[in-house]
């Protein structure tokens, strides 16, 4: 907070003195209160990316490097061309701060916001995915409360708008206790024509500016400056910043918007989210190199007596801004009337490159449109935290429980157990596109109606790995999430990310961000995956304890499957089939569930990524797919290889005889092999008649592949070929533990 004098009155503003003086330089005069507050919103971290932009520049060339990328970073959503005249638009963003204060409405309006982002690319939202982070649930009513209502908020909003929630990911860790993470992702499907119709810019002077949807109220003023701070005790007072969503109105907005875009008269489209009308008008004109005159009193307000500053900054939900060609104005308004959506023509664009806002004839804002859209950036310091070396050198203690007891403990742990309690609340089938549903695959798979193409999408990253090594952790996250779509038979097409970190003004927190960005960039370049969008949420830091959340560069991958016969699912299918482990296992237990659940330590050596090996494994898998050799596939993830196999057995009540002879050398202990979370590994099922062919192909592709066992009809897993004596796991018991953890913790 800075104190400045405006019109002879002392006011508190969110800008620094330097930023305030910069506005004076641009305007060549003193800004008034409305102008100052508009700038302070646009220069907030949330709108301007002032700390992250210098670093994120390395992502900017996706459109240039890949033919099929139509919109890359910096737009409301990434857009790719998937052939047959269709495009996919997708984006992931955070709604962490509002959800930490009011989980239900915070999460719901997060969904509302991401739907609008997709909509303004001219695409129909067809799927939602929600990665979440909370504090541990055990004996923690606060975390249980957040978890319960965040999930309910997502479910209620998503279900009411008729968009299926097809995937997500949840991790529990105490670093998220006061700063939970609610990341929301949406995928939209549209035609190339509609996408080209609706840029999020106003390129043409003389077009009408129309506001459509909900009315403008005093809610959520300065929501973005609130998101650009840490949550303090003061946040209780800031609570009016939380919004109330209205999914039924949103459904009408979706239909009205898509209808309007179809007319071809809409030449610019922008949603009103963070920063409200200020952000929408300045970005439309600033990016389009035009100006506009806005008549403030045309905006339909919910309450009488709102000041110009309140109208410009309101973040009321469910509003869209349209830039419409003059000769199509009545046609577009007729569509809004048909859907009974409130609307108003609030102004016109011009070629002045100045944004002028009039309040009853008085000029209240008169600023170059670029001044608002292009904020200054800051180079932040980065420094590796001093505690890391100690953590990385932590050794895996000797284990005292038997291996089978350890596995029973792991399968029941919060981070490994079934998340059915969550996805049962989501409608994942509405829209009749869902093919592979929650629990049946590593990713959600959707049909593109009218073609034989399918979309696979997955989200995730391992926060514990990133905490120990953000560079390798971010790469590992990519390996895992790409692995999820590949396990379902899809080729990864593009990536979007949502960077959740602590306070960027603290060098240690910024170091995590910087390293994670480098990791994502290096991996995506070597594996040829375009990065088409991102969102940054800083200040996820507890003011009282001065600790940041574990670094969470959340990753979303969208892939394409050509042909229904090429969809692979997770459950094991037939007794007698062979089970293979693909990829080498290393003693990488740093940040593993085994370390945290059994030994209560966070350190150790986390997984590292060898891009060449990963690439070979992916190519090998697609070769197997082409020859129809794979019956089931699941990537090896938290808890290690036995947990992965158990998850594959559950659905069809099968069992497995496993022999790990020759899978790991002298140097690895049994627990290091069984519970390692080395990334990039897969477990596949294949018919015994194809054994020789698969082994030959593995040699040809130079990848590590071992036959580790066979499927049996009895629901048990027997494990031999390890250094300790062989043992047996009861899958009925494992399934019970797997299913009951979250319902028990949530008392339901």
């Amino acid at each position: 907070m800075t104190k400045v004098i405006i019109n002879g009155e002392e006011v508190d503003i969110e800008l620094t003195k330097w930023e305030f003086n910069k506005i004076k330089d641009i305007l060549n005069r003193e800004p008034n209160l409305t102008e100052t507050q508009m700038v302070s919103v646009m220069y907030s971290e949330h709108c301007s990316y002032k700390s992250s932009r210098p670093k994120l520049k390395i992502f900017e060339d996706a459109e240039k490097n890949y033919d099929y990328v139509l919109a890359g970073p910096g737009q409301d959503a990434g857009v790719i061309d998937i052939g047959d005249g269709y495009v996919l638009a997708f984006r992931i963003e955070s709604h962490n701060h509002p959800s930490a204060i009011e989980p239900y409405h915070g999460a719901a309006t997060g969904i509302g916001g991401i739907i609008r982002d997709i909509l303004c690319m001219g695409a129909r939202p067809i799927a939602l995915l929600d990665p979440l982070r909370f504090g541990s649930l055990k004996d923690n009513p606060h975390s249980q409360w957040l978890f319960k209502y965040v999930v309910k908020g997502i479910a209620d909003y998503g279900n009411c708008t008729g968009i299926p929630t097809i995937g997500g990911e949840v991790e529990f860790d105490d670093s998220f206790e006061t700063n939970c993470l609610v990341n929301v992702a949406c995928i939209g499907l549209g035609t190339i024509e509609d996408f080209e119709h609706a840029p999020s810019r106003a390129y043409n002077p003389g077009d009408y500016v129309i506001l459509m949807g909900g009315s403008t109220g005093r809610d959520g003023i300065h929501g973005v400056t609130f998101a650009s701070r840490t949550l303090t005790e003061m946040s209780e007072e800031d609570r009016p910043a939380v919004q109330i969503g209205d999914p039924f109105t949103k459904k009408m907005i979706i239909e009205a918007t898509l209808d309007a875009v179809k007319t071809g008269y809409v030449r610019g489209l922008k949603d009103l989210g963070g920063g409200g009308l200020t952000c929408a008008t300045s970005e439309l004109t600033g990016d389009g190199n035009t100006g506009a005159e806005i008549q403030l009193r045309k905006v339909f307000t919910r309450e009488p007596g709102m000041t110009s500053y309140e109208i410009m900054l309101s973040e009321s939900q469910e509003r869209m801004a349209f830039i419409v060609k003059p000769d199509g104005l009545e046609k577009v308004l007729d569509i809004f009337r048909k859907y009974e959506m409130a609307h108003a023509v609030i102004g016109r664009t011009d070629d002045s490159k100045v944004l002028k806002v009039f309040d009853n004839g008085n000029l209240v804002v008169n600023m170059p449109s670029k001044a608002l859209a292009e904020s200054p950036t800051f180079k932040r310091e980065e420094k590796k935290p001093s505690y890391l070396d100690n953590l990385l050198s932590q050794k895996t203690p000797k284990y005292s429980l038997s291996l089978e007891e350890i596995i029973y403990n792991l399968i029941a742990s919060e981070n490994i157990c079934s998340k059915e309690w969550v996805y049962r609340q989501y409608d994942h089938e509405v829209g009749v596109r869902s093919v592979v549903k929650c629990g049946d695959g590593d990713s959600g798979v959707l049909r593109i109606i009218g073609t034989d193409k399918f979309i696979a999408a997955s989200v995730g990253v391992n926060s514990k790995h990133c905490f120990l090594d953000p560079y390798e952790g971010a790469k590992g996250g990519l390996v895992e999430v790409c692995g999820n779509v590949i396990a379902n038979g899809a080729k990864p097409m593009a990536m979007v990310n949502c960077c959740n970190f602590g306070n960027p003004e603290i060098p240690e927190s910024f170091w995590y961000f910087s390293k994670a960005v480098d990791g994502m960039n290096d991996f995506c370049r070597s594996l040829k995956i375009p990065i088409v969008g991102g969102n940054v949420s800083f200040y996820n830091e507890d003011e009282v304890t001065k600790t940041a959340i574990k670094a969470t560069p959340m990753i979303m991958i969208v892939g394409i499957i050509e042909g229904e016969k090429n969809i692979i699912t997770l459950p094991f299918k037939d007794v007698g089939n062979d089970i293979f482990l693909i990829g080498e296992t290393k003693a990488e237990l740093g940040g593993s569930e085994y370390h945290s659940v059994l030994h209560n330590i966070e350190g150790g050596v986390p997984p590292t990524v060898d891009e060449e090996k990963i690439k070979a494994i992916w190519e090998f898998l697609f070769e197997l797919y082409n020859r129809n050799l794979v019956k089931a596939n699941h990537d090896v993830n938290k808890g290690g290889v036995v947990i992965t196999i158990a998850e594959m057995c559950f659905r069809n009540k099968l069992g497995a005889n496993l022999d790990f002879n020759n899978c790991y050398g002298e140097k690895l202990r049994d627990d290091e092999f069984l519970f390692s979370e080395t990334v990039g590994r897969f477990v596949i099922e294949a018919s015994p008649k194809d054994l020789d062919l698969i082994l030959d192909l593995a040699t040809q592709f130079k990848i590590d592949l071992k036959k580790i066992g066979m499927l049996i009809s009895k629901p048990e897993i027997t494990i031999s070929g390890i250094k300790s004596k062989q043992f047996k796991l009861d899958l009925v018991k494992m399934k019970r533990l797997y299913d009951s953890t979250i319902p028990n913790l949530m008392d339901i």
Binding site: S215, G217, P240, I244, E303, Q317
Partner: protein
């Protein structure tokens, strides 16, 4: 001495917050039938609770405390008003 009371409470969205239910009723039911004189509708939830307490004040206190602790309403977005306390 305990006596029986009825406490009636009403929960509404805060004035500043939007109220989709009220807005829908206004738009769909009233505006369509030509009730132009209606300018605003706000919705709420009503609870009628039977309670045994020492006196009216005590009954009121118990209910207020309960609603806050158990989050019967959402203090972030809603107001709670005790409409009346009466002997049952």
């Amino acid at each position: 001495m305990q006596a029986n009371f009825i406490v009636e409470i009403i929960m509404t969205n805060k004035e500043m917050a939007r109220d989709p239910v009220g807005a829908t009723i206004k738009r769909d039911l009233l505006a369509k039938k030509g009730y132009d004189m209606i300018s605003n509708v706000r919705s709420g939830q009503y609870l009628r609770i039977h309670i045994s307490a020492e006196n009216e004040e005590n009954a009121k206190e118990i209910i207020e405390d309960m609603c806050n602790k158990l989050r019967i309403f959402n203090p972030v977005t809603q107001n709670l008003t005790i409409l009346r306390v009466s002997k049952s």
